[in-house]
């Protein structure tokens, strides 16, 4: 079996040792990162399970980053950028759209749960949306459990 059955994580429980999902968020500098910042400024609470990686544009995110993220131990990945038409670099997120539609299909074909990998458009003024997306994503992944596939345990 190549699906990890003895990960170094505690599955059940609510105590301090209970497993918490780790989610990587690729946030585009001009929209999503600003939106996340706004969420912070507005004191909107969201689960602390995310790690934000700021990129100049969602189009900068290479599918291999997503694959490596899962391999390195992340339970979920979110790529978020400007709404189509609002990209700071005019066209970056159009490429993101195509690329990630396909990447999602590829991950699914590999047997990875497609819900673990999400793409969203979050603009700079959408603080509440950022909070909402993250909260929902963390809940979904908590329910799915830790990612046991493509885990680098070597």
């Amino acid at each position: 079996m190549s699906i990890e059955t003895n990960l170094n994580v505690e599955q059940q429980g609510t105590g301090p040792q209970a497993w918490e999902p780790k989610i990587l968020v690729f946030a585009c500098n001009w929209c999503t990162y600003a939106g996340a910042d706004l969420a912070g400024l507005s004191r909107l609470q969201y689960p602390p399970n995310i790690r934000i990686l700021r990129v100049p544009c969602s189009g900068r995110v290479n599918p291999q980053f997503v694959i490596r993220a899962f391999q390195k131990g992340l339970d979920g990945v979110l790529v978020a950028g400007c709404h189509p038409g609002d990209c700071h670099y005019s066209t970056g997120n159009y490429f993101t759209r195509r690329r990630y539609l396909l990447t999602k299909r590829l991950l699914e074909y590999m047997g990875i749960d497609p819900q673990r990998f999400q793409v969203r458009w979050i603009s700079g003024s959408e603080g509440p949306k950022f909070q909402q997306v993250v909260t929902q994503l963390v809940e979904e992944i908590k329910a799915m459990g830790p990612n046991r596939k493509m885990r680098d345990q070597e």
Binding site: M1, S2, I3, P63, Q64, I67, R68, Q71, P84, G85, T91, Y94, F95, R97, R98, R99, Y100, L101, L102, T103, K104, R105, L106, E108, Y109, M110, G111, I112, D113, Q118, V119, R120, W121, K149, M150, R151, D152, E154
Partner: protein, 295 residues
């Protein structure tokens, strides 16, 4: 001797002797009898090495990347799939159309050398797996066509059957299937090196700084390599099937590449790669109304 071989030699002889081209890329017989290999002919008197038979698998368009420094024009013989490789390279600005003299050969489909290995010449041999899905047996670009165009043959596709079987599996089963395939990978990179869509001057897997791909051979690194390569060539794969043929441990790479081709055609309605050198690749362009089911 078959008619196409005869014409190949005549054409090559004429081109070389007249000085029209500096080099002719074709195929010659290899060893054993069920192997044909790429041939590089630069003198008129050597053209009798050229053959076209049911084992001429190699996609010669890949070699154009090595030949940019050649002075003068290069002639090459191409089957349907190979010609799409040329368009691919033109699309990527890796080769200039004017430098090429393309001689097209309508391809009736090739045979599987592994099946021939246990047999004698003249025996019935299985169709090559890569030819089963062929949609473009006739060259899509050429300066000269040797022979009559052939119809698209209807063959049962082992690859499509595998894709369908995989799509029906549960995710865990699918994961185990691919994990089993990738754990056998030797990381020889024959698939990458033979692929005309893989034409980066320095491949991400060869770079030590940053080291995207570690040197160890284990499931994780192999998964990373194959998934990354699949997505990097997505939309640019010309369906020649050489990757799968080259693989020494029989990893069903076309079940991976073809799935992405199917998805691209379904999602974006894009036409297959390498048909029109002017068009941009599906992932290299966009439409304002592209689907965004998940956003």
């Amino acid at each position: 001797m078959n008619e196409i071989t005869q014409k190949m030699r005549e054409t090559a002889r004429g081109l070389l002797n007249s000085g029209q081209v500096a080099l002719v890329l074709g195929w010659e017989k290899g060893y054993p009898w069920y192997k044909s290999a790429p041939a590089f002919i630069d003198r008129g008197e050597d053209v009798d090495r050229l053959v076209f038979d049911e084992f001429c698998h190699n996609n010669l368009s890949k070699y154009l990347l090595d030949l940019v420094a050649v002075e003068g024009r290069i002639a090459l013989f191409v089957k349907g799939c190979d010609s799409r490789g040329i368009n691919r390279l033109i699309q990527d600005n890796q080769v200039k159309r004017e430098q090429l003299y393309i001689i097209g050969i309508p391809c009736p489909g090739l045979k599987d050398p592994d099946d021939a290995a246990g047999k004698k010449q003249g025996d019935e041999i299985k169709d090559a797996a890569k030819c089963q899905d062929c949609r473009y047996p006739n060259p899509v670009v050429y300066d000269l066509l040797l022979g009559e165009k052939v119809p698209v043959a209807k063959r049962s596709s082992e690859t499509q059957a595998l894709i369908e079987r995989l799509e029906k599996m549960k995710p865990d089963e699918r994961y185990e299937f691919w994990a089993e395939q990738f754990s056998r990978c030797l990381r020889c990179y024959a698939c990458r090196n033979i692929c005309p869509a893989c034409n980066c001057r320095e491949c991400v897997f060869d770079r030590a700084t940053p080291e995207w791909l570690g040197k160890a051979n284990n499931l994780i690194e192999n998964q990373f390599m194959h998934l990354t390569r699949a997505i990097h060539v997505a939309g640019r794969c010309i369906e020649c099937g050489e990757c799968e043929r080259a693989c020494p441990v029989n990893i069903p790479l076309m079940a991976l590449n073809r799935k992405l081709i199917n998805d691209i055609e379904e999602l974006f309605g894009e036409e297959p790669a390498g048909l029109d050198p002017e068009k941009k690749t599906p992932l290299g362009r966009f439409e304002l109304d592209d689907p965004e089911k998940f956003m």
